[in-house]
């Protein structure tokens, strides 16, 4: 049956049809929907792991036991899982194992723009790169065949435009693939003696995969009459070049992006007068062509910064690009903001008021860096707030202890904040960590995590108790505050900063967008009392604006959280 599917849903369908039995992932835009979609198939066990390293190792365990397995993550998640990846390349698999990784060219929702294709080359693991949903489904199934045939984990590389575009797919039936577990110490125990014998196996496998790349169906040459120029491309860049050039010139589309063919590329290059490589981010295909001694143009014209698009490709190829009418007007930008009623707002207001240095982390609360709160000093990667504050405070010999905090979300703390906290306890920091616990993984669209008490499928499950966990690693001062209560937040932060030992403050209130959260009636402004002092504007709530010199509350957005009321000395903000 033909249907529209997101690229991510198509990967999930491919997993289902390929008989994948075990999925473990950590959410991350733009990869999240793969795992959300597979959770709807009852035949497949699927879970959220606390981080990508755990997910990949769990998927390996399932493969070792004889079940086709999968783990999904965003590009930066693959950094976290890089450790098992490089050695799984040596062990290979029992049942097929596929790793989904989604890059975010253009950084729609990411902290960097890394090109994950380098991992395939560095770890010597094959990587497939679909260019639409139909290919995402087909290549996911193919990935399992390759995994078992070549005894290797296989990467399926998505990107924002493939993951989050719906296109037409035809679905098939599920076929089960079960293997027996067999003990094989030489293959699976990677101590030096065994690993030394596995490395040549890896190199031989890559040579065999290059052979496969020469003739496989997913490395396609589409003929074109005009051979004055030919293009080598992959993924969404293929769509842009076809959009711009149609069928005029020969196009080679690489579905297997690592390893790449050699003879096939040499022959293609020889068949055209000029070879142009069209690829997003780094010159990965181009480097390969250069290694083969083939002259080509690529990154000289197509930037390694930001996404490509049909107009960018057209302009670089000398085609006319006609824009519509641009309004001669200063259009203010509309950056993302914390939602009305967001529990993070009250906390960040308190941090700003106390003029604290804030080491931030990855999640919705990264938006605490946006004006007018502008209360975050650094954001690097998941967990870096807790590890970072230890170094920050230790290196200042106590001078920073009472004016610096780390802020990390519940899910991010589970992901990689715990080890940083262990380091603080063990090496005797005197720093203060605030866990903003909104009872969900917010930014990626409300995924459960080990602190919520529910699993991926929405069923009740074990719940990690944050207070007990923090005390267990050796933090004696652990307290909980309600971020809607500004006075309580202020007192707690002042007291914990003053304490002569490390502290954890858990700022706890569920995300205002969660369905079970009951909203209060929107507030209104007493026009007689409001003097337009803008005290309520300091919290950057999107529901409050100034109209004709008085505050105005947008009733469609306000959830009655009451944080603004606490800032109004005149009592002008009222419940109806």
């Amino acid at each position: 049956m033909k249907q529209l599917m997101l690229g991510n849903e198509a990967v999930a369908r491919g997993l289902y049809e390929a008989g994948c039995a075990f999925v473990s992932s950590y959410p991350g835009t733009p990869s999240t929907e793969i795992t959300e979609a597979i959770a709807k198939y009852p035949e497949v066990y699927a879970e959220w792991a606390p981080n990508e390293k755990v997910a990949m190792e769990a998927a390996f365990g399932a493969s070792l036991a004889g079940r086709r397995s999968f783990c999904g993550m965003k590009h930066v998640g693959l950094n976290v899982a890089a450790d098992p990846l490089f050695t799984l390349s040596y062990t290979g698999v029992n049942a097929g194992m596929v790793i989904g990784v989604a890059d975010d060219a253009g950084m729609h929702s990411s902290q960097n723009e890394q090109d994950s294709r380098h991992y395939a080359r560095a770890a010597k693991v094959p990587m497939l790169e679909p260019s639409d949903s139909a290919e995402a489904l087909a290549m996911t199934k193919l990935a399992y065949e390759l995994s078992e045939k070549f005894d290797t984990p296989v990467l399926v590389k998505m990107c924002t435009r493939v993951s989050h575009s719906q296109s037409v797919v035809e679905t098939g039936e599920r076929v089960e693939h079960l293997k027996e577990y067999q003990k094989d110490i030489a293959k699976y125990v990677m101590m030096p003696g065994n690993a030394k014998r596995r490395h040549p196996v890896v190199e031989a496998r890559t040579r065999a995969l290059v052979e496969y790349a020469e003739s496989c169906e997913i490395n396609v040459v589409e003929e074109g009459e005009d051979k004055s120029v030919g293009f080598i491309t992959s993924s969404t860049s293929y769509q842009y070049i076809k959009e711009v050039m149609g069928d005029k010139h020969p196009v080679m589309k690489l579905g297997l992006i690592w390893p790449m063919p050699e003879e096939k590329i040499r022959n293609f290059a020889a068949s055209v007068e000029k070879l142009v490589i069209v690829e997003e981010l780094d010159g990965f295909i181009q480097s390969h062509c250069r290694d083969l001694g083939i002259q080509c143009v690529g990154k000289e014209v197509f930037s390694c910064i930001d996404e490509l698009s049909q107009n960018k490709v057209a302009a670089q190829l000398g085609k006319d690009v006609v824009s519509g009418t641009k309004l001669e007007e200063n259009i203010p930008p509309r950056p993302p903001v914390m939602c009305a009623g967001c529990p993070h707002r009250g906390l960040f207001y308190t941090l700003k008021k106390n003029k604290l240095t804030v080491l931030g982390d990855i999640g919705c609360y990264t938006l605490g860096a946006v004006a007018p709160l502008a209360a975050v000093d650094s954001v690097i990667c998941m967990g870096a707030s807790v590890s970072g504050i230890h170094g920050f405070c230790k290196s200042q010999n106590g001078a920073a202890d009472n004016k610096t905090v780390a802020v990390i979300g519940d899910s991010t703390f589970m992901h990689s904040g715990i080890t940083g906290l262990v380091n603080m306890a063990y090496n005797e920091s005197n720093a203060t960590v605030i866990i903003v616990d909104n009872s969900i993984t917010g930014m990626t669209g409300h995924q459960q995590n080990p602190t919520t008490g529910f699993n991926l499928k929405g069923d009740p499950c074990a719940k990690i108790d944050l207070e007990t966990l923090c005390r267990a690693v050796g933090i004696k001062r652990v307290r909980v505050v309600d971020p809607y209560d500004l006075k309580q937040c202020d007192e707690a932060i002042k007291e914990e900063l003053a304490a002569e030992e490390p502290s954890v403050i858990i700022s706890r209130r569920p995300c205002a967008l969660l369905k079970y959260v009951k909203h209060k009636a929107p507030l209104t402004v007493d026009q007689d009392k409001c003097v337009g002092c803008k005290a309520c504007m300091k919290i950057g709530c999107p529901a409050i604006s100034m109209v004709d010199g008085k505050a105005k509350v947008d009733a469609t957005q306000c959830v009655g959280c009451g944080v603004c009321q606490q800032l109004c000395k005149l009592g002008a903000l009222k419940e109806v």
Binding site: S165, Q166, S167, Q310, P333
Partner: protein, 190 residues
Amino acid sequence: METKNVMIVGVGGQGSLLASKLLGRLLLGKGYDIKVSEVHGMSQRGGSVVTYVRFGDKVYSPVIDKGQADFIVSFELLEAARWTEFLKPGGKLIANTQRIDPMPVIIGAAEYPEDLAKKMLDAGIDLDAMDALSLAQEAGSSKAVNLVLMGRLSKYFDIPQEEWMAAIEASVPPKFLEMNKKAFALGANA
């Protein structure tokens, strides 16, 4: 058929994903090749959001670039003004006149431009502006702005009403079906 391009723009949280889902359903039923490109993640949090819907005999790129949109459906007036460059010559801009201040305006770092609708018309943009919020409220919920705007878009599409209705039925929960159908009809007849 040459590829047709519809952009749906607005503010994160306004419900543009339902509009694109509805269009996707409708057009798949017509046998077209389709691509619908969405925005998830951080930019959804009250930021400027855009969804691309493309359909025709064969659709390659999942996105719409400047100068290519046959229609832009905007959920908010400032967002309509932001994306005019994406209209192709002869393209139509359907805009809800609702104003939602972005954070730079809220904190006084920028001004919300005055008379945007008039300025767009003066610039020669084919603008169909409407108060979709009031019509949505009349239908029963301010959240039905998306269906009001889809109703308006349907006026420019040569697709029978019953096919639109079937797509709506397949896209919204039964509980809200009547309200959404009413919103659609109000948009189509406004």
